[in-house]
């Protein structure tokens, strides 16, 4: 059984090693700077600057966090502290359902609703003409995808805060909101950070939904109304050209390895924080 448990761990390591081995040709041939800090992407001419894709990923993830975190946290606070039991029992399964929906469904819904919303309603509000296939659209779709992650982890964090602590605050004359603000949120801060980091790592890796709405333009985004091109979309779109252009497969493997490292890092970080929270609650 120990061996069986070790298998997933080794799998991640094997994948990472495999990716780096396949990425070696391009790491050997191209200077590090031109791979990670150049925005020239022209595989046929031998330009493999990954900067637009790294920036695209960062922009889309940042937008999704800005949209998701306040709403998710407030939802979690409401469900944990204010909502009657019936509302909580009704909403939690629905939120978990959101987590289980396939990515491509979000993508199709995004194309049908979010892209026109951004192109015809939101962009004109800011005085910008846009087709709707933008970083903002990608951020909106991603935000909805990471709601369940942040909400459910935050709910668990809040439930791990001992009730007597809330009672002590209320007995001192604090209002419910002051209790929430000064006791629950403060005590749960580490756990909330872990929840956000978990949501972040999900947002980094989402592929299908984002590539359907984000515009896939390999250029540094200038604003949220520009198209972007996150790393997972790069790999998914161009997997087909791998065999046809020299070094392209190595470049895509490198992009995949970078993505894996980033997601791994954030996941490990979140787990460490959560372990600390649980240990303190016990």
């Amino acid at each position: 059984m120990l061996v069986l448990t070790a298998v997933p761990t080794f799998l991640v390591l094997l994948i990472l090693i495999g990716l780096f081995i396949r990425a070696r040709p391009i790491l050997a041939q191209k200077p590090f700077f031109s791979l990670f800090f150049s925005s020239a992407w022209s595989p046929l001419k031998g330009d493999f600057g990954l900067l637009p894709f790294i920036m695209g990923t960062l922009w889309v993830t940042f937008v999704s966090l800005v949209l998701a975190v306040p709403i998710s946290l407030l939802t979690a606070v409401y469900l944990s502290e204010y909502a009657p039991l019936s509302v909580r029992e009704f909403t939690k399964p629905i939120i978990d359902l959101l987590a289980g929906l396939p990515s491509v469904i979000y993508g199709v819904w995004g194309v049908l609703l979010v892209v026109p919303l951004v192109g015809r309603v939101i962009a004109p509000l800011f005085g910008v003409t846009s087709s709707g296939y933008t970083i903002l659209a990608g951020g909106i779709v991603l935000a909805i995808m990471i709601f369940p992650t942040i909400i459910s982890v935050s709910l668990e964090v809040f439930s791990s805060i001992p009730y007597p602590m809330r009672e002590a605050s209320l007995s001192l004359g604090a209002t419910k909101w002051e209790t929430v603000h000064h006791v629950v949120l403060k005590k749960g801060l580490q756990g909330i950070i872990a929840a956000i980091v978990l949501g972040l790592s999900r947002a980094f890796g989402e592929t299908m939904a984002v590539l359907m709405v984000v515009g896939n333009i390999p250029r540094l985004p200038g604003s949220v109304f520009d198209g972007g091109y996150p790393l997972p979309a790069l790999i998914a779109n161009n997997y087909g050209e791998m065999m046809s252009v020299p070094l392209y497969d190595a470049a895509l493997m490198l992009a995949a390895a970078v993505l894996l490292l980033v997601v791994l890092f954030f996941n490990v970080l979140a787990r460490l924080i959560l372990v600390r929270v649980e240990r303190r609650a016990a």
């Binding site: 359907m212 896939n216 333009i217 087909g240 065999m243 046809s244």
Partner: protein, 317 residues
């Protein structure tokens, strides 16, 4: 008596051998997997259905995903045959790509049926230089720039995000490669058609079978085909007006009126010369009997010489 018995047994034995005929040569079974170009997808599905009628024990699995996926899957050995809707590059041939041309179709430029300048665009069309200004150099920022007028209506340019034959072929018409096409990248042929349909100021391109409705043979509701001004006269002559329905455009491609590129041969690619009897038989059938279904599915058949070349290539001659 013993000799008679021995003779009868020998006779029975020999007659048994004569009666036990070999199994019928057409009893093929197994699965053929295809993946790749959206362009070939409808044809491959049709061929799969018809082949199955002849060989009920054979299954033909077809998956789309773009010509790039087709080539990658074929060379990786993940599928039996890759569907590729563009020319095969030398580097792919070096990696073992064995391509047979099976049918022909084309890529057409598309606009929304609700474009405010629709009548002007349909009457004058766009020249090749205008298309290059739209997609390659990005010097055409407005419909006026593309048409050569002073109109300031914005132009929204779309292309394909996935590595595909349609984009590569359209780029070949503009003398470049897919990565040189600039614009909002949308995934898949149907995706691009949908994006142009919903954006009144949009311009894109599609394979014929995704620009025209398969039943009515007219352009998809909401889409119009942007005529190419082939002779550069600034007007679409009756001879250049070949886009009314699918039959008109396929006839134009067959006669060479519509240029190649953006019309092009479509290929089935395997890793090395196919050896499995099922694959060989399928390919042979596609180049022979299968050509009957080409016109009704909206494609253009290949010339007898090309088909014979293909058959020779399969047999290794």
């Amino acid at each position: 008596m013993k000799r008679l018995l021995g003779g009868m047994i020998t006779f029975a034995f020999i007659s048994m051998l004569a009666v036990s005929v070999p199994p019928p040569a057409q009893e093929l079974s197994g699965t053929i997997t295809l993946s790749g170009a959206w362009a070939l997808y409808p044809m491959a599905v049709k061929w799969g259905e018809e082949f199955r009628k002849l060989h009920p024990k054979v299954r033909v699995d077809v998956q789309a995903g773009g010509a790039g996926k087709g080539i990658a899957d074929a060379l990786a050995g993940v599928v039996d045959l890759g569907m590729v809707s563009r020319e095969i590059h030398p580097i792919e041939v070096e990696k073992g790509a064995f391509a047979i041309a099976v049918v022909k179709d084309g890529v057409v430029p598309t606009i929304s049926a609700k474009n405010p300048l629709l009548d002007r665009i349909l009457s004058s069309g766009l020249k090749k230089e205008a298309f290059i200004a739209v997609w390659i150099t990005e010097t055409a920022k407005t419909w006026g720039d593309a048409l050569g007028t002073a109109d300031k209506t914005a132009l929204h340019v779309y292309t394909r995000s996935d590595a595909c034959g349609a984009a590569e072929t359209w780029a070949a018409f503009l003398e470049k490669r897919q990565e040189d096409l600039k614009g909002i990248g949308v995934y898949g042929d149907p995706g691009l058609a949908e994006a142009v349909r919903r954006d009144t100021l949009g311009i894109g391109f599609n394979n014929i079978n995704y620009a025209y409705d398969a039943k009515t043979l007219k352009p998809l509701p909401g889409i119009m085909i942007l005529p190419i001004d082939l002779d550069g006269s600034g007007k679409i002559e009756p001879a250049e007006s070949v886009y009314q329905d699918r039959d008109a455009i396929t006839a134009a491609i067959a006669q060479g009126v519509y240029p190649s590129p953006p019309a092009r041969d479509l290929y089935l690619v395997s890793k090395g010369r196919p050896q499995a009897p099922l694959q060989v038989e399928f390919l042979r059938w596609v180049l022979g009997e299968g050509q009957k279904f080409v016109a009704e599915t909206g494609y253009i058949g290949l010339s007898p010489e090309k088909l014979a070349d293909g058959r020779r290539k399969i047999e290794g001659r």
